[in-house]
Symmetry: C2
Subunit: 544 residues, 2 copies
Amino acid sequence: MRRLSFAIATLLAATAMAPLAIARGPDGPAAPSAPVDKIVDEGTNRSEVMRVAQYLTDVIGARLTNSPGMRQAEDWTQAKFREWGLTNVHKEGFEFGRGWSAKNAGVKMIAPRPLTLIAAPLAWTPGTNGPITGQVVLAPMADEAALDQYKGKLKGKIVLLTEPTDITDATDPDFRRYGDADLDKADTFQLQNGGASANRRPSSASRMAFTAKRDAFLKAEGAIAYATMSSRNGKLVHGQNSQFQVGATPPLPGFEIAAEDYRRLTRLAKMGAAPSLELNSEVSYDDSDTKAYNILADIPGTDAKAGYVMAGAHMDSWAMGDGAADNAAGVSMVMEAARIIKASGIKTKRAIRFALWSGEEQGLLGSMAYVENHVASRPVDPALTGTNRYMNWSKAFPIKPGADHSKLAAYFNLDNGSGKIRGIYTQGNTAVVPIFREWLAPFNSMGATKVATGRTGSTDHVFFDAVGIPAFQFIQDPLDYGSNVHHTDVDTFDHLKPDDMRQGAIILATFLVNAANAPEPLPRLPLASEPKASDGFYAAPGAH
Amino acid sequence: MRRLSFAIATLLAATAMAPLAIARGPDGPAAPSAPVDKIVDEGTNRSEVMRVAQYLTDVIGARLTNSPGMRQAEDWTQAKFREWGLTNVHKEGFEFGRGWSAKNAGVKMIAPRPLTLIAAPLAWTPGTNGPITGQVVLAPMADEAALDQYKGKLKGKIVLLTEPTDITDATDPDFRRYGDADLDKADTFQLQNGGASANRRPSSASRMAFTAKRDAFLKAEGAIAYATMSSRNGKLVHGQNSQFQVGATPPLPGFEIAAEDYRRLTRLAKMGAAPSLELNSEVSYDDSDTKAYNILADIPGTDAKAGYVMAGAHMDSWAMGDGAADNAAGVSMVMEAARIIKASGIKTKRAIRFALWSGEEQGLLGSMAYVENHVASRPVDPALTGTNRYMNWSKAFPIKPGADHSKLAAYFNLDNGSGKIRGIYTQGNTAVVPIFREWLAPFNSMGATKVATGRTGSTDHVFFDAVGIPAFQFIQDPLDYGSNVHHTDVDTFDHLKPDDMRQGAIILATFLVNAANAPEPLPRLPLASEPKASDGFYAAPGAH
């Protein structure tokens, strides 16, 4: 049923509109040889997008940066690009840190009664060297002042670091698609401010510094491990360790415990039942190659001087689940767009480059490295690395354009799950609005309608955008991405939507071809210069 | 905030209405000594309902019939009733079968890549005697004909029995309270038909028989274990084994695997990746006492000849989670109603009996035993035991009234989670509607408004109802009971709603006092006789 309706929508879309940027016959509707028709045909009838997604998720699984899974994905995707005939397929390394993977992790309550709990080892924390047991103590530590009160009380203990919160009533559906009102919300102009808005959480630097101090305190006090509470209910766990300073190795085993199990522990502790746990995590570190790698592959243009356009998606994931919606979905659509364009034999003036980023989950590190190496540099303190570099990069001025700054005509990113494309954020670039409206027109009947002036952040287009490249993230239906899937152990292939992903790959391929063939490069915003305090919109750190 | 608003609602309710069935002063509003005011005061200001619930869930945990947890709960609740001054506190046994409990159960994928899966051992299946490993084979067997096609193909294998289904979009909220339209739906008259409607699934007998044949086939073919897929997404598991014939011991270890993990296994199997599992379950059987026990406790009436009224809730649960919403919630409200009435010093003409049932999850077996021993018997084939007896009991005629048939004036049940009471089902007993409207009036402003003529089934009032006792289940807000909690590993204390449960205990206590003091026993429906085919509403088995 859904395939049929998709096919019908596809036919309607392919014949209904004749976007200006695509060459058309002079006498009426599009000829079957028009690029958009070829793309729709190839992406609908010979789609590989779900096969790619399934290999990345079911077969390879989680792809934490520099983990064995990510290494396997780096090799497999390069081979796939080569198999499809792309050129200049290679990986570009940047310094990251040791690899980490865990297996056979488990947490059991052994007193006051035996019970298997749901838990995940926190990424990059050391293993337990076999099962270790200890009594839990609830010791939430929000800041350095809080450490003192637990001095002398943690020896031999498993420290519960999260103050448990009650369950909130889940009165919103877990699964949703955008309505018009949602799409309209994205259509709000925001002033460009040198990319500073890329940093959602400018206080993270101090939080990371505190986390390092807290970990050292726990170790010094003789605690044997610590645990945090999952931020989601319903036994979902993440194993995400966002306060990890890239390259560092935490001193103690750390676990995230499912919310229901964690709350039970804290209640038992408060009633004096002295709950004890057995913790086990078998962890491997890999120092054989501390570089992370972006995967790059090209389809050459017909005019070597015309520069290039680009699509990207990050391939790394967190360690639980299979990294399906975040972001095998984006990777598969980017790769499928490459395959569609190549298989269709469409020629473009500009080259098209495809990028699969690494280190995104630790601070967009892969795309930042690409921008720094090819597009533009900023005078960031060299002592700042990893996530700290991410958090400070957009605040450093002046921006110094690099070799590709004038060559890179457009960048398109996919990283909002497997939901179908409903439109595109223009990041305040109002001049591209009419152009994108035309490019999106053939896909209006597939639900892709909104060219939004608003900005979106938190993924790999932001550092391109921050140095003046026309760089965009598509608007996608949220599905169950935010409710259940994002970074959890149910980020699995079965939560992906095949019809949506076929639509996304088709639209991305069309945008790339249009951008690569447009007579002029996409209009750019002026290169940002350091905002002055008197400008009034450059808020102090912490105010975002 | 919520406590405050509850307290305000309570005050409003306690003073606003003067229900006819409660003695009132002649000169105006209720005196502070009126039973309803005492009940509201005791149940609001000195509530124990959440302490009871917490002990049953956090400390004791799961209470599968005849498991160690259920035995502990049987002892603890009797001690609590005695501590509160109830009389005739005792347990009444009925033949059930061996006890079962599991610990340290786990399922890991060992090929094509290592991964810890979420799984639950199916209740009553044997343990693995240490970890066992085998390749999975997807072999859905819906009926006997399906067995043949797998002959010779299962030796040494782990058999996946469920044909996986896709994820359905979760477009309804997980958590909800009833609106007026929901309550109105319950207000639909249905003809009484001798209790035959108690059986939701009359085909279960044949399904159970097939399950036994299938298990024997798997064993004979040399399969080492089997697994089913969780019916819920999001890694929730149940371990429920509804096709278990009480008293039987399944021949092979069986596991329920989380839906996402199960689907991944079947996809890998279909793509030829030959997934293998390591299964482990450490299981204990207990044959020391094969009787299950109902817990009974009384508050005597002032007139020994006036008979009694009764409240009940089942205390047994399935083996995953802590049996919180199903049904520590109901048990705690029933016990709290007992405590409130006793502590308030309220005297009633009729005695009030409190029952905590066992064996409900295997077919209302505890309440059925009570009805058979005290209230009425039916000529069921003695060869039918356990769940098979449950499924056939209401079809057997004639009904023969027992010693308590004329004495038991009313039965009230609680088993729909921890949501507040929104009304009561009258089971088609239209004569009680005006009476219950009066009894419910003081609680209208607490959200309890609906006296519904409709029937509800599936819990311990049905066999009382089926032999002509006025027996009722309250209408409760569903909360997240149906979406996530029911029979799963997140049926835990934190999903219970304290304010709702205080309200429920208060209303139940008031109904019990009203029923025990009513001048006349509640009106009864005529005792059912065997429906004739010509009556047209006694559907053939399978048609429900």
